[in-house]
Symmetry: none
Subunit: 282 residues, 2 copies
DNA sequence: TAATAATTGGAATTTTTATTCCATTTCCGC
DNA sequence: GCGGAAATGGAATAAAAATTCCAATTATTA
């Protein structure tokens, strides 16, 4: 590949995303060593940002001059300009959710679908990050012990929370933890719950606006002496007074839509931990 | 302040956190220009990481040599060593998933439930972050347009992917987008799909190991001329050849369990974008 | 207020780092 | 397998950056 292979300096990508796409679309046009650099660059963007030409070259098993050629083949004047893009990427990473949404709004792709994708993903990232700090390990451990001791775990959820319950049902199933999804197309939920005893346990999931049937199911189980572990979005949730253990998961919203990313991660952790606890104590 | 004011090179802080504390506890001992540098450094850590001695000095209104003196007064050999700490900070920020798991394993809470929670959440964070860079905006826009043009959107998913489909069904419902979850306790999936025409569309979701019924449903729809949008985990997924549009979502795993956090965020974005596109074009 | 020590500015120097250039190798069409 | 073009390695060179050093300034103390 010639240094001036239809590429002039003016069209060098200015931001990381377009650089990435540029590299990907030329993936097969690069000669051997340049492909090597391309792969290394996309796999180790941090290294590209911080390393020196020599250190990066060594780690990518090429010569420093190859890095310069690579940069030039994309349209940059030299390696330094290429590296600047990788540095910008780290610099621009806006820390807070608000800043990121702000950035999306001011962007060129105003009301494009891409903006929605970016916004929802930013909200999800923010939610998961919040969850990582908000949940108390002690509370989690206690809830896990309670659930691990149960004979059958009843799963209560409707509407928006239902995907989480179905995911729990699937995961518990794989872990051989007996469970019962309290939900049926036949309206036999009451009959399903009639088998519950205080030696069982329940996981109830509900977010505002709290679905009436979920509340009703949680109340029935709670009154039957079944310990209830709740996943909800506020300390004032009507689930809280019915619960022995409860967790608040605050999902960020985008344009009024709340993601489930943090809740579903939490649910998975809960299921795995219960499975582990069973394996350990049995 | 003397260059060797009770400070020797060996006790220079190795990580950003202790550097920060060191600077704060000496806040009042620094002479004028060095205080200036201290304040600038803590206020602009990114600048400290990326800038050159000259550029940082200019922005902090001091001489480059002052930066070197500042670094030495804290115990570093020179400015470069100080800067290395600021760079490490950025490098470690979204510390890679592997490192984080490593940290969890070596932690005090070995095989406690809290470690599982931390690990799963780390995996979720990593997955969502990957998704934010991996998905092409153009592909997303195209898929949205295709789905927005459909009369009915068929949703195909089984087992682990089912929660995503049920979430899509719920969200599309709220957005008044007609949809049909191809799944039934009565085994009438074929009959459900019999109504599909090329003016409809489908979303198929399947991750390795690809559930046979999902593949079969996707095949039937595809052969009926229904445009299929797939969400899967590899370019080699059997869904890909059946799809008009496809997206690869790489979920990180923890102890062999894959989260759904990124997929569910993507699904939500897709649903909202389709709703928006409809609102715009109708 | 004079003497001394600490601090600072800025140019000179050294070190590090990127880039260029050219000889050698590899690839490709014939 | 031959000839030319493209690609590569690596040393030589240029550029950039950090560091040092010393004179000038500013604080400190008697």
């Amino acid at each position: 590949m010639n240094m001036n292979n239809g590429v002039n300096t003016s069209d060098a990508p200015k931001d990381f995303h377009s650089l990435r796409e540029r590299i990907l679309e030329r993936r097969d046009l690069f000669p051997k060593r340049l492909s090597q650099v391309a792969a290394f660059a996309l796999d180790n963007p941090d290294e590209m940002a911080f390393g020196t030409a020599a250190s990066i070259a060594a780690r990518a098993h090429v010569q420093p001059s190859t890095l310069v050629r690579f940069a030039q083949s994309i349209g940059y004047a030299g390696f330094s300009d290429l590296q600047a893009v990788f540095r910008e990427r780290l610099r621009e990473r806006p820390s807070t959710y608000d800043e990121r949404l702000q950035a999306l709004r001011s962007d060129a792709h105003r009301d494009s679908s891409a903006a929605i994708l970016g916004g929802v993903i930013a909200a999800a990232q923010y939610s998961v990050e919040s969850a990582s700090t908000a949940i108390s390990s002690q509370a989690f451990e206690k809830a896990v012990k309670a659930l691990a001791a149960a004979e059958t775990i009843f799963l209560v959820a409707q509407r928006r929370s239902f995907p989480i319950a179905s995911y729990l049902a699937y995961t518990f199933g794989k872990l051989k933890v007996r469970n019962q999804l309290v939900s049926s197309p036949f309206g036999i939920e009451s009959e399903q719950m009639a088998f519950a005893t205080p030696r069982d346990a329940a996981i109830a999931i509900s977010f505002s606006p709290y679905a009436a049937p979920s509340m009703e199911h949680a109340r029935v189980l709670s009154q039957a002496g079944v310990p209830v572990v709740s996943i909800t979005d506020s300390a004032f949730s009507p689930l809280v007074p019915l619960s022995k253990h409860w967790f608040e998961i605050a999902e960020a919203d985008f344009a009024g839509f709340r993601s489930l990313s943090a809740s579903i991660a939490f649910a998975l952790a809960l299921a795995i931990a219960v499975g582990e606890e069973r394996a350990r104590t049995k």
